[in-house]
């Protein structure tokens, strides 16, 4: 066997966004040696782009808020296919996780009496999002990063993991390469935490960066863990649509939280037209009430722009399809109208939404204090992911944990805005805690060198093909396919077609060729990322085919309604002995009576 550089850690964490960093901090505080591997430089992970805030029932702005309401909101938003235990833990623990960030130096916006300010967001009954203007993710990642580096965590920046290493059924490390020099590395670990984020790069229009290739999902699946809820992909209603080069870049829901409204080309506020039954009692009767809600009047109910993301996205698609869209194929999002309601509106907008102001001014020549923005849905988040134990975040493979976006369960069929950052903190901490515990109770496992040699050979194969295909072209074709055939509106025929195409892409990916050498070679990196992208694309498609109903983020044109028989099941996928992808439906765990009662009380 060639010599590979080898590192040994007690706990290895893959991914350095919010969940990975929080897990690293927790594990290292528990006294074990922690290694952290990330694809980019430290502090650049996708968390940095989160804008709106962290959902936690601190009750600083509205004293009626508490974990029970947050729990009920999360379950309603997820259409009740969430893992109730995760939603419960999340709602209970999020406030402590936010307060602890303050103790580590985070500087949140303040209320008049000097406490952490909270803002309104879609699907949350009370103002619940702790935030810093519209750059909350940056504040969170910087706080965790700065706190973490003083804890003696070994950080391996710009490294990509290619496979997990196993000793029997137990996961005992990872094999990967350093992007800079292209050298292979072995990471031996007593426990491994996946915190790799999402899958957005499987789609053409996405708010996600190149890193989001479903690595954790695919690594876990290949190693023998299960995936759950993969059909639920969140299309955020407001991404930029113009100019083409910025298509998909996120426009924070905070714009609507501050009073922004959605209009079609005729200037009609279309969101008032179709309010879903289960939200009718929570939604404003008219525009005036909606505005009062955004201004913090406690007797007012939310404007329909702040309904859940799945619903808002579908309404926007309807407007566009029926010919009432804006010139560049979106709809209008207008915050400038608030000048009718308040003096100094322009200043207010710039203070509350500084990076949105900046982003539109610089990238689209639009002054959002004067003009409406053009927006349309963009692939943003996957609710589905690695199946984990709700308390410990361990997968069915001993020693393998997952947290954050790549794990699943808390969000069900649709995630509420703001519940992601809190999820990263709550379950990042838990994963770190239990991974450290596992590491203390177990020794290092045996690493199988044959596995490593074959993984290394496979990784280098693309260099040996002289006139194979351009990996970028394959990636682009896959993105088009997923966008067009497994997007917001789905049908059986289109998804069957997608599966066939994915099969072809797999063959093409085996012929991908790269030029140059192994040092910092993005063409090679793209060729290697294809494998994970193809695995998760297949998983999304198969799960979406098997859920023959419309629920939350999954909208089936051929089954447009919710179906009773799907209301209490999750789709579970795993790799069969013949390497094929198996999907099965499994009943949800039974919810205890006290939680059922909380849901009833908050109907």
């Amino acid at each position: 066997m060639p010599d590979y550089e080898t590192f040994e850690h007690d706990v290895l964490i893959i991914g350095a966004g919010g969940a990975g960093l929080r897990a690293a901090i927790e594990a290292s505080a528990a006294g074990v040696r922690v290694g952290l591997v990330c694809k980019s430089l430290l502090g650049k992970a996708h968390t940095v782009m989160a804008e709106g805030g962290i959902a936690a029932a601190l009750a600083n702005v509205d004293e009626r808020d508490n974990w029970k309401v947050h729990f009920a909101d999360t379950m309603r938003g997820g259409q009740y296919v969430n893992q109730w235990r995760m939603a419960e833990l999340h709602a209970k623990e999020a406030p402590d996780r936010v307060r602890e960030l303050e103790a580590w130096g985070a500087v949140f916006d303040r209320t008049k009496d000097g406490r952490i300010l909270q803002r309104h967001f879609g699907g949350h009954k009370y103002p619940r999002l702790a935030h810093v203007g519209d750059r909350t993710g940056l504040e969170m990642i910087r706080t965790l990063q700065d706190h973490g580096v003083h804890q003696g965590i070994d950080v391996h920046m710009e490294h990509t993991v290619l496979s997990l290493l196993k000793d029997g059924s137990r996961v005992v490390g990872a094999f990967g390469y350093e992007r800079e020099r292209g050298r292979f590395k072995i990471f031996g670990a007593k426990a491994v935490v996946l915190a790799t984020g999402g899958i957005g790069r499987a789609y053409k229009i996405t708010s996600n960066s190149w890193e989001y290739t479903g690595d954790g999902h695919a690594l876990a699946y290949e190693a023998g863990a299960e995936l759950i809820d993969m059909e639920f992909v969140q299309f955020h209603p407001t991404g930029m649509v113009w100019p083409p080069s910025v298509m998909g870049i996120l426009v924070t829901e905070g714009v609507r939280g501050e009073g922004g409204i959605l209009l079609n080309k005729d200037g009609k506020r279309f969101m008032f037209e179709a309010i879903p039954e289960n939200y009718r009692a929570h939604t404003a009767d008219d525009e005036e009430e909606g505005w009062r809600y955004c201004q913090g009047h406690k007797d007012a109910r939310r404007p329909p722009e702040l309904l859940t993301r799945d619903h808002v996205s579908r309404c926007i698609v309807r407007e566009i399809k029926e010919g009432r869209g804006s010139p560049h194929g979106g709809v209008y999002l207008d915050i400038s109208w608030i000048k009718q309601k308040m003096p100094n509106a322009a200043e207010h907008i710039k203070r509350k939404l500084p990076s949105m102001y900046h982003q539109f001014k610089q990238l689209a020549d639009i002054d959002i204090t004067e003009q409406p923005m053009e927006v349309g849905p963009t692939t943003h988040y996957i609710m589905g992911g690695v199946r984990v134990d709700p308390d410990t975040q361990m997968t069915r493979l001993p020693g393998l944990f997952a947290a954050g976006e790549c794990a699943a369960g808390i969000n069900g069929a649709n995630r509420l805005g703001g519940n992601s950052l809190s999820d990263l903190l709550v379950f990042g901490k838990r994963a770190g805690e239990y991974a450290a515990k596992f590491a203390r109770e177990n020794q290092h496992g045996q690493i199988n060198t044959n596995d490593i040699d074959s993984a290394a050979r496979e990784a280098l194969a693309s260099f040996e093909r002289s006139n194979g295909e351009n990996p970028y072209a394959i990636q682009k074709d896959l993105q088009e396919t997923m966008q067009n055939l497994v997007g917001i509106v789905r049908t059986e025929t289109e998804m069957r077609e997608a599966l066939e195409k994915i099969g072809n892409f797999k063959t093409r990916a085996k012929k991908a060729a790269v030029t140059g050498n192994r040092e910092y070679n993005p063409g090679w990196h793209t060729a290697l990322d294809l494998k994970n992208l193809l695995t998760i694309s297949e998983a999304i498609t198969r799960a979406a085919l098997d859920r023959k109903e419309s629920r939350g983020a999954q909208f089936r044109e051929d089954y447009p309604d919710k179906e009773e028989r799907f209301s209490k099941v999750n789709t579970i996928m795993s790799k069969a002995a013949d390497d094929s992808m198996q999907v099965r439906l499994e009943p949800l765990p039974e919810m205890p009576d006290d939680l059922k009662q909380i849901i009833e009380e908050n109907r």
């Binding site: 430290l42 782009m49 003083h150 100019p243 910025v246 900046h358 970028y472 790269v514 040092e519 993005p522």
Partner: protein
């Protein structure tokens, strides 16, 4: 329309500019052109990027000689009748093409004393701070660590004083900690000694390139310099420092 991009290709040992012609369209930024060239003509062209929206600070480079985020530099701002030059930041060693070794920055940051809050204000373990008392700190915390200010600062760029001077990025990091209403740590002595604040002669080049428009010099470095002066050359300063320590017990 076609435009020409002169992109620096090479590694630590050798390199030079190479011309690439590519189709450009309305609204494109420099990073779009680079990614387009990478996908079609130069698969192994190395560059860093993540967010494409000026939020992550990965895509720093020098465009027509000026330190910029490639993702926030519109082609419409540039004279396209001439080739656009794109090269890596000069202050840091090249790894390959547009990618530089910025690891020095991470080492510097690790040496800065971390945040140390006073005891909580309320029995539930929380603190009270007024918005106007944190506005300045929030300004500094907007930093996306693009290191463009480090790239442009002559102390680092021309004089290579990396061992003696932490650079504007970390001076405002220290400023954010020092001006944090809850912080009780004292970082003034090392600002003067190991962190070398005295090397900054307030040319304000850093402020000019900061994509977050942080007033690095006026709001950060100058007040810090004043604190250093007060503490080291002014007995009253010593008195205040003693008092601050007492109050924070």
């Amino acid at each position: 329309m076609t435009a020409t991009f002169k992109i620096w290709r090479g590694d630590a040992k050798e390199g030079g500019f190479r011309d690439y012609a590519t189709e450009v369209a309305e609204g494109m930024v420099v990073l779009d052109a680079v990614i387009q060239i990478q996908a079609a003509q130069a698969r192994d062209l190395a560059c860093r990027w993540n967010c494409k929206a000026g939020k992550c600070g990965s895509c720093s480079a020098e465009v027509n000689g000026i330190p910029k985020l490639m993702c926030m530099t519109r082609l419409s701002e540039l004279p396209l009748e001439k080739p656009v030059t794109v090269e890596p930041m000069k202050t840091f060693p090249v790894i390959k093409d547009l990618v530089t070794d910025v690891s020095w920055n991470f080492r510097v940051k690790k040496k800065i004393k971390p945040f140390k809050p006073r005891l909580p204000d309320a029995p539930d373990g929380t603190w009270r701070m007024q918005q106007e008392d944190i506005d300045r700190v929030q300004e500094f915390r907007k930093c996306i660590e693009c290191f463009l200010c480090q790239d442009v600062c002559h102390v680092l760029r021309d004089h290579q004083m990396h061992e003696k001077f932490i650079g504007p990025r970390f001076l405002i990091h220290v400023a954010a900690l020092e001006m944090h209403p809850l912080d009780t740590e004292d970082r003034i002595e090392e600002l003067r000694s190991t962190q070398g604040i005295g090397y900054c002669n307030i040319t304000k080049c850093c402020t000019k390139v900061c994509p977050e428009s942080i007033q690095i010099t006026d709001n950060g470095i100058i007040p810090l310099k004043e604190r250093v002066v007060d503490e080291f050359y002014d007995p009253l300063g010593w008195f205040w420092k003693g008092l601050k320590k007492l109050l924070n017990r």
